[in-house]
């Protein structure tokens, strides 16, 4: 089977700065040159390589995530695939009808009604009137805006606009679907609906290229992923492998930032390293799945190569979309730690965990005596918090507090019935 997408040694260069020199600017330049005999600044144009020598293939029905920090070139790759822009060198082969969820609702006209915009947007995406007519009911049902369908779009909330945009763009059932971070908008239940929609398309043979910073989504939707940084392909693998790599690089950056903000060039060489961060249950066994009302412990193993003495620790839990959910510090809890040469372990018990369903991971920092600089860092594997009530979507809430319901019994009172009747 031949691949539906072939991305062969593709590079894309952008000009930085002014695209065109204006006449006044040129004249000023002449004058300057005449006076100073300086060098011609129009010759040292600045270029920027958004994508450099990237190659990959995508087979029919496969899903591939593009993972990397902001400005890595992910969106440029999508634009190249969508034929919005041409590569500077290399070849992009796309076989089949392609639909891009890049800018939902781009091309909506505010003065036109929802109905008119469905047709307008549909034709922009390459459908004919007949094809839109056939899918019209489905689009309206999916967007959940039946009652406002004859209202001008300018009166819609942003959520409604996005829902309508997604409904139109995803109803196409393309051979190839490009999704760029569009699910970040819209509420949790609609997001869930979109994910199900995308999965259904995948099952029907659509191939998917997916860009998101939400690693939970990437894991849920994609089999494979590529990691991109500075416009270059760093590695390619299963989405699990790539997500781990992405998180590691994020943490590396965080460390760099942290040491920079402390005014130091490097991470403090602490002579200690974190060897393992894991979640364990009440029986002390490592686990990767749990319920939010269970009691768990985050356990950290470390190896110290020298006596360090008084030190501190921080434990952070991040949700898959990068949201820090908790930040626990020994320093604030007045718990003192002493580290001596050798292997050791510290742990913190969360009783109960109280997180809402979703994918999370924990990180830990070992800190110096006055809690001002990090000396070692470690991160856990992903763990999944499940909801007791099956089928409830993730990300709809952050935490499940300990709770106790109650109801006060009302004291029977004489109420005049006449008031209620009127």
């Amino acid at each position: 089977m031949s691949p539906v997408i072939q991305f062969i040694d593709v590079s894309k260069r952008y000009n930085l700065g002014l695209t065109r020199a204006s006449l006044p600017a040129i004249v000023t330049q002449w004058v300057k040159q005449a006076l100073k005999k300086g060098r011609d600044s129009f010759n040292d144009r600045k270029y920027y390589w958004a994508v450099q020598n990237v190659s990959f293939n995508l087979e029919k029905g496969q899903s591939l995530a593009l993972v990397g920090p902001n400005g890595a070139g992910k969106s440029t790759i999508l634009k190249l695939l969508a034929k919005i822009t041409n590569p500077t060198s290399g070849k992009v082969n796309v076989d089949g009808q392609l639909s891009a969820l890049i800018e939902l609702g781009a091309g909506f006209h505010p003065d036109l009604t929802g109905r008119e915009n469905i047709f307008l947007n549909g034709t922009i995406l390459g459908l004919t009137y007949k094809e839109i007519q056939k899918r019209y009911d489905e689009i309206v049902a999916f967007s959940e805006i039946e009652e406002f369908i004859d209202t001008p779009v300018k009166r819609y909330s942003s959520g409604m606009t996005v829902r309508l945009g997604f409904a139109v763009a995803s109803c196409i059932e393309p051979d190839i679907l490009l999704v760029d971070e569009v699910l970040a908008v819209g509420d949790a239940s609609f997001r869930q609906k979109c994910i199900e929609r995308i999965k259904k398309l995948l099952n029907n043979g659509t191939s998917l290229i997916f860009v998101s910073h939400d690693m939970g989504l990437v894991r849920a939707v994609c089999d494979r992923a590529i990691y991109i940084e500075h416009g270059q392909l760093q590695s390619i693998g299963t989405s699990g492998e790539i997500i781990d790599q992405y998180n590691q690089s994020l943490e590396k950056r965080r460390i760099e930032k942290m040491s920079l903000s402390d005014g130091e060039a490097d991470v403090v060489e602490g002579g200690v390293e974190v060897t393992k961060v894991e979640m364990v249950n009440a029986e002390g066994r490592p686990i990767s799945e749990m319920y939010g009302d269970e009691s768990i412990e985050i356990r950290v193993n470390y190896t110290a190569y020298k006596d360090i003495g008084r030190s501190n620790a921080i434990v952070l839990i991040y949700r898959s979309d990068g949201l820090p959910c908790c930040n626990i510090r020994t320093h604030l809890d007045h718990f003192s730690m002493t580290i001596e040469k050798g292997h050791g372990e510290y742990s913190v018990r969360l009783d109960p965990l109280q997180l809402y369903g979703g994918m999370y991971y924990a990180t830990t920092w070992m800190m110096n005596a006055d809690d001002s600089a990090g000396i070692a860092y470690g991160t856990s594997e992903w763990f999944e918090v499940k909801n007791r009530a099956a089928g409830r979507p993730a990300h709809i809430a952050i935490y499940e507090p300990n709770r106790k319901w109650s109801q006060n019994k009302t004291i029977a009172a004489e109420l005049p019935g006449a008031i209620l009747k009127d």
Binding site: Y14, T19, R20, K79, A82, K83, I84, T85, N86, A100, I102, E103, A106, G107, H109, D111, L112, E116, F119, L120, T123, I124, L125, G126, L127, T128, Y129
Partner: protein, 260 residues
């Protein structure tokens, strides 16, 4: 060229939807609505009529001045409004051009179609005027109308599509175009008959394609005669402009998303 025509055919629904969008957007929240299509040329003609019958009378060859100027103002308005609109059509929809792929010609062409709707309405009024003033019109003359119209369309398409593309690179195109159209207006037989142009300069005068086009409209609609040889240079120049404009558009369209 053939595959391009095929692709354009495939996007005719998009062109149509965009035309409707443009018209709706233009007239939705206005009280007069499509009547604006007539108001503008009628107002222009009313002013001309006062100036050129009362103050500086112009020899129209026995035709009422109102009809004389309206017959040229209608096609002229089509040209001037559609070209300025088309020039802005890509730049005004940057977010679309930069984010979604679709055949880029669709935008300027739909913009032209929306102006054609206005032209249709004001042209109907022209026909009504011709009937009211009991101007005799020959059948063979009417057969010329579609030819004249096609020549004008080629001219507009070439200029409009070319300037839409050029405007992506240089925003000077829009003000420059307005300036050119202003000058062009006086260089075309709208206020005055061609007989005012000295005989020895006629050949040069008819290099302006609008001179031939407007003269032909007048010959057919109000002078009951067939267009003369002067239409040929207009046709050639218009076709040339169409080819160059379209060629330029196709040559640079792949850069639009990067520059816009």
């Amino acid at each position: 060229m053939l595959t391009q025509a095929k692709q354009l055919l495939k996007t005719r629904d998009l062109v149509w939807a965009w035309t409707v969008r443009t018209l709706r957007g233009r007239y939705q929240q206005s009280a007069l609505g499509w009547l604006w299509a007539i108001v503008q040329p009628v107002a222009t003609v009313a002013i001309f009529a006062v100036v050129f019958t009362r103050i500086v009378p112009v020899d129209t060859g026995g035709v009422p001045y109102i009809l004389f100027s309206y017959s040229a103002v209608v096609p002229w308005t089509l040209l001037s409004t559609s070209i300025t609109d088309m020039a802005m059509s890509l730049v005004q929809n940057m977010n679309l051009v930069g984010k979604i792929y679709f055949p880029r010609e669709a935008l300027p062409i739909a913009t032209l179609l929306a102006r054609l709707a206005d032209f249709g309405i004001s042209f109907i009024l022209l026909i009504i005027l011709v009937i009211i003033f009991r101007i005799p019109v020959s059948f063979i003359g009417l057969l010329y109308l579609p030819i004249i119209f096609l020549i004008q369309l080629a001219l507009i398409l070439g200029l409009g599509i070319g300037s839409a593309a050029l405007n992506v690179f240089y925003r000077d195109v829009d003000p420059l175009l307005k300036l050119i159209i202003q000058v062009w207006f006086y260089a075309s037989p709208i206020l005055y008959p061609i007989s005012l142009v000295p005989e020895k300069w006629r050949w040069l005068y008819f290099l302006n394609p609008m001179a031939g086009i407007l003269a032909a409209y007048r010959d057919v609609l109000i002078y009951n005669q067939l267009p003369g040889n002067y239409l040929l240079p207009s046709a050639i120049v218009s076709l040339l402009i169409f080819v160059v404009g379209y060629w330029f558009f196709k040559r640079v369209e792949f850069q639009f998303a990067d520059i816009i």
